[in-house]
């Protein structure tokens, strides 16, 4: 399967099943488009008719180009047949019941009252609660016991607002570190916070122990304070920005992400990204479309989606400019490692929700991921008895890039792995559904990210 597109002056050809990426001129672009369904003579005739007045387009040159395309095909870099469908379930089957990552809901409560919160102000449609150290410790023991031969284990402290249960977070990190060596494991901790309770002690601990911190900020003050407010209705921007700046400065280059949400109020979200970069000094940025019901006032409309797609292009071009000027910024979804990216098993099988990745509630219940917490039908089990709803785990195990007939002809399926099960569930009621709007935005992001790679390669010539 081949995908061809033109963006920012580049003609790009993606070969879905080999991972091959080719940057071509307009003549080769047209030749490749005709290659599978036309003879060389037909292609030459069509190209001479279209480009024949150009001195650089001769019959011999066209036949050379056709030969180059044929050579790429024979080398397995173009028009590569899809031989992965039979492997679709093998990685998750081979992994057995291994669990390698937990999202620990240490606090089902929050000190902000954000209008669009998918977790209903941190309570997940249930009672307010804080995870006890004993439950957290059992969760870590459960993770180690079910991690098989995996060495790297990941734990995200999540909520609600995890800093509202800070002592437990610290004790859990301390406990995990105490068993790492004996168990032969490497814990990677991350923290997702709204920033309200950040102080010097939190900064010091995070910068020592957290391999990544995710800091929630929606960008411009008027945008952030429209939704990210406390229970008195006061915006959070002025309180949290100085704390985030202090944390990032002290972090000394360790991973962090400013993580914003854009809604119907700001489909022009690049203004928020550029505000965070230019006015606030943050360089590691992630901005995501809101996840909510279609009738929610915050929901993106079809008109918004067109604006958002244009914004993704604006962002990619601006990032290239910044790179050239020696002031680069990172946008999470534009990070592609073409030579060191994920293997085909990972690309087929996706994030691992419900199998190797689970969320743990303050009471120790297990859910497929943080976005299913509160959906009682999606409870997998608990950290004492393990996964008891094995049918549900099998349903998640069967989710992959080849699970949905709608994805069969999609060029991006080995980039999105079939998409986010939670987004599909919230959009369609089924984890095997297809969240069309999400697909559209995803494809645009990948096109932009690959265009940036093409531009970087052109700059190296």
């Amino acid at each position: 399967m081949v995908h061809q597109y033109q963006l920012n002056g580049y003609n790009i050809v993606l070969d879905t099943c080999s991972g091959g990426i080719h940057v071509v001129d307009e003549v080769a672009y047209d030749i490749i488009a005709m290659f599978q369904d036309h003879s060389p003579d037909e292609i030459v005739a069509a190209m001479l008719e279209k480009y024949g007045t150009r001195p650089d387009v001769t019959e011999q040159d066209l036949r050379d180009c056709i030969a180059d395309v044929e050579a790429l095909k024979n080398a397995g870099k173009l028009f590569t047949p899809d031989t992965f469908a039979d492997m679709a379930g093998t990685f998750k089957e081979r992994s057995g019941d291994v669990v390698k990552a937990l999202c620990l809901h240490v606090a089902h409560t929050c000190n902000l009252n954000c209008a669009y919160c998918f977790a209903s102000q941190g309570k997940y449609h249930g009672d307010r609660a804080l995870m006890s150290f004993e439950v957290g410790k059992q969760a870590l023991d459960f993770l180690v016991a079910h991690s098989g031969h995996r060495r790297n284990l990941e734990v995200d402290f999540f909520g609600g607002e995890p800093l509202m249960n800070w002592d437990v977070v610290k004790r859990l990190v301390e406990y995990a570190r105490s068993i790492e060596q004996e168990k032969g494991k490497n814990f990677r901790f991350t923290l997702t916070t709204n920033g309200v309770l950040i102080d010097d002690e939190v900064i010091d601990f995070c910068n020592r122990e957290m391999s990544n911190v995710v800091l929630s900020l929606d960008g411009r003050k008027e945008i952030n304070d429209r939704t990210r407010v406390d229970y008195a209705g006061n915006g959070s921007y002025d309180r949290i920005v100085p704390k985030f700046q202090k944390l990032v400065k002290a972090r000394g280059g360790k991973n962090y992400y400013m993580r914003g949400t854009f809604t119907h109020a700001n489909p022009d979200f690049t203004k928020d990204l550029f505000h965070m970069a230019d006015d606030l000094g943050f360089t590691e940025l992630s901005m995501e479309p809101v996840v909510c019901a279609p009738d929610d006032p915050a929901a993106l409309t079809p008109e918004d989606l067109e604006i958002v797609k244009e914004q993704y292009e604006i962002l990619a071009k601006d990032m290239l400019r910044r790179e050239k000027e020696g002031k680069p910024i990172t946008f999470y979804h534009y990070m592609l490692d073409l030579t060191g990216g994920p293997c085909v098993y990972k690309r087929i099988s996706g994030c691992g929700s419900g199998t190797e990745y689970m969320a743990v509630t303050p009471w120790g219940d297990l859910y497929p991921c943080h976005q299913f917490v509160g959906e009682e039908n999606y409870k997998l089990g608990d950290i004492w008895n393990g996964v008891t709803n094995t049918a549900l785990r099998e349903e998640f195990r069967s989710c992959n890039a080849y699970a949905r007939p709608e994805c069969a002809d999609c060029w991006a399926k080995l980039y999105c792995s079939g998409g986010c099960a939670a987004n599909a569930f919230h959009a369609t009621g089924s984890i095997r559904g297809v969240y069309e709007a999400g697909c559209e935005l995803f494809r645009k992001r990948i096109e932009c990210a690959i265009m940036m790679k093409a531009a970087e390669a052109a700059g190296e010539d």
Partner: protein, 46 residues
């Protein structure tokens, strides 16, 4: 003349032979928490 520039990429077919160790980071833990970014991950062993 050269009309095609092929970027250096990891061969997916090759990765079917040497991939699948499962040590890479769970994508949802990386940054966004709401839309999967498997493509944005790095391989621990590439």
């Amino acid at each position: 003349m050269e009309r095609i520039k092929t970027l250096e990429t990891r061969s997916l077919c090759e990765s079917a032979k040497n991939g699948g160790c499962g040590e890479c980071q769970t994508s949802c833990q990386s940054a966004c928490k709401t839309s999967c970014g498997v493509a944005n991950q790095k391989c621990e062993n590439a």
